[in-house]
């Protein structure tokens, strides 16, 4: 029986803002000439999606891709506090992760796979660089304002069936979403976020996969069509894994993972 290779955990990036990463080595004998960087969602969504993204990384490495999952600054095991988080910092973090995996895997071509806000950040990154060959956007956050409004409703719902926390003066520095602070700077950046203003590079292959009809419609699909980008779109009936579940279970949507792996393998055959 072949035992799965352990993942290699490591820290990288600038000394004062070290980031945590997990490197999944490509299966020996099947290595492809492209590395995958997984851009995770943030806040509570990061917690709920971790299991699925870890399994996605394992499947991709089994298919011959060296894979790096990493935590943004102020998230997960990376240095910093959630209060210091912001989109511009996270975009720099994605660039650091790309540089790191290129060195570790010894490849020049990179595929970004992003989920929710991670997908939005991936698209922005890919539009600013020339070394991103392919891009997977899994249930991307398209309009930041819509995302903020969804988070706010979720927080209200979460407070409905639990003891009310002791009232404290409202902080101006952040709002709270399911135990995570959403700092004012990040809120302001999210207000401004609109993927429909981003023009992707014509050389990047894009795969948009959605597990549900998004709150902001399929406007991203139309946007990508209008810009004559090479893209594929798929909608799969699957649970929205980034939302809290009643029993605290962490969901892994196998069909979505398989679609993402199949598409990535096809693009980098």
């Amino acid at each position: 029986m072949r035992l799965p290779k352990p993942v290699l955990p490591f820290y990288f990036g600038p000394a004062d803002k070290r980031l945590f990463g997990c490197y999944h080595e490509a299966r020996i004998g099947h290595t492809r000439n492209c590395a995958v960087v997984v851009c995770q969602p943030t806040g509570h969504e990061y917690i709920y999606c971790h299991r699925a993204l870890r399994q996605l990384a394992a499947r991709l490495s089994d298919s011959g891709f060296p894979v790096c999952r990493f935590d943004y600054y102020g998230c997960g095991d990376s240095y910093g506090n959630a209060e210091e988080a912001g989109l511009s910092q996270w975009l720099r973090d994605i660039s650091s992760a790309i540089a790191e995996i290129k060195i570790r895997a010894g490849v020049d071509r990179v595929c970004l796979i992003g989920l929710r806000l991670g997908a939005a950040l991936s698209l922005i990154t890919a539009s600013q660089r020339d070394d991103i060959d392919s891009l997977v956007l899994w249930d991307p956050v398209v309009i930041g304002k819509v995302c903020l409004s969804g988070l706010s409703s979720l927080q209200k719902e979460a407070l409905r069936c639990r003891p009310k926390p002791i009232r404290q003066p409202k902080s101006r520095a952040y709002i709270e979403i399911i135990g995570f602070p959403l700092p004012a700077l990040l809120c302001a950046e999210l207000e401004e976020l609109n993927l429909l203003t981003i023009v992707p590079k014509a050389t990047t292959n894009i795969f948009v996969i959605q597990s549900d009809l998004p709150a902001d419609g399929d406007c991203l699909k139309h946007h990508l069509s209008n810009h004559q980008v090479r893209f594929e779109y798929q909608q799969v009936q699957a649970p929205r894994i980034w939302l809290p579940t009643v029993d605290g279970s962490l969901l892994v949507p196998s069909q979505i993972l398989q679609s993402v792996v199949n598409w990535t393998c096809r693009m980098h055959a």
């Binding site: 820290y11 509570h44 299991r51 095991d77 639990r162």
Partner: protein, 321 residues
């Protein structure tokens, strides 16, 4: 504070983060805190609270290790069919061995939420290097199958209705105005009746087993602190299963029971997390191998009335005598 990502265990398949204190504290120089997964959530913990706890403990001078059990988070799945109850204890001991070997640590405090609390308790029974355990929302009933999980959901809802909604004007208004979840209320009511009837049938022996374990650990000088969310139904279960033994040991200050006011099971508000951190740091700071007497530093929160119902399903660990 400096953090280091590590692989350890027999096949180097376990992934963890060691937080090394920036300044050594003589009081805690030989003691490390090991944080165990809260259920299936990976080592970061809900609301990233494990990261905050580990860093705060490192600032007190403790070496801390937060890691994932096999098959959880970043650690690879085991292939030996060992049951989780057993493998989790083995892997916790692997973590202790790793810190002993690489950092010269001699004593350990185990910290875990939910099933992590149960593993902490069982490991403390088996390994004399453990001098303290911080047990957050300790589960008395096992949640290994779907039915138990569903029961826990109903139990949680029933507990919320009984403890909070019953005394809330807004909840009564919602009930009258047709805005309540009537199905959930009915299910919770049915569950409570069923639970009341079945728990009466539980054997006395099961409860005394848990009490016996508590007494043995206390006699060995292991500092046990149970931290319970006020809004978590496990608090009632713990008091019932702990019985008079728990009450006595708390009164003798051998064991502490702390209740985190107005918090829920996963500490899903920042304020819950702050309160939890405060208590954990206070408790951890007074645990040390040199300490002979419990002294006043180990205060106890008031414990509820004597239990009416006794039930406990922990099985004795064959590793322990």
């Amino acid at each position: 504070m400096r953090e280091e990502a590590v692989n350890f265990g027999e096949f180097k398949s376990l992934v963890g983060i060691v937080a090394n204190p920036a300044k050594q504290n003589k009081k805690h120089i030989k003691t490390a805190v090991v944080l165990l997964n809260p259920g299936i959530v990976h080592r970061v913990g809900p609301g990233r609270v494990y990261v905050k706890i580990a860093r705060a403990l490192a600032s007190l001078g403790f070496v801390t290790l937060r890691f994932d059990f096999s098959g959880i988070g970043d650690s690879t799945v085991r292939h030996d069919n060992l049951r989780f109850e057993k493998s989790a204890i083995n892997e916790t001991r692997d973590a202790m061995d790793y810190l002993a070997k690489t950092r010269g640590i001699e004593y350990f405090i185990l910290l875990g939420g939910c099933s992590g609390a149960e593993v902490s308790f069982e490991t403390a029974r088996c390994d004399t290097r453990v001098i303290g355990a911080l047990l957050i929302n300790f589960p008395i009933t096992r949640e290994e199958d779907g039915a138990a999980n569903r029961n826990l959901i109903h139990q949680g809802a029933a507990y919320y209705y009984r403890k909070y909604a019953l005394f809330s004007l807004r909840s009564w208004f919602n009930l009258v105005a047709g805005r309540a979840n009537y199905r959930q209320i009915a299910l919770s009511l049915w569950f409570e009746i069923k639970r009341w009837l079945t728990s009466r049938k539980s054997t006395f022996r099961e409860a005394t087993e848990f009490e016996l374990h508590l007494r043995r650990l206390a006699d060995r000088g292991v500092r046990l602190t149970f931290l319970c969310s006020e809004g978590d139904p496990r608090l009632e279960d713990l008091r019932e299963a702990g019985g008079l033994g728990l009450k006595e040991l708390c009164a003798r200050r051998s064991i502490a029971l702390e209740i985190i006011a107005r918090s829920d099971h996963t500490f899903s508000s920042l304020q819950d997390q702050e309160q939890l951190m405060k208590v954990l740091l206070e408790r951890a700071d007074v645990i040390g191998p040199e300490e002979k007497e419990p002294a006043n530093a180990f205060q106890v929160s008031p414990v509820a009335e004597a239990p009416k119902v006794l039930f406990h399903q922990l099985q004795s660990n064959p590793d322990c005598n």
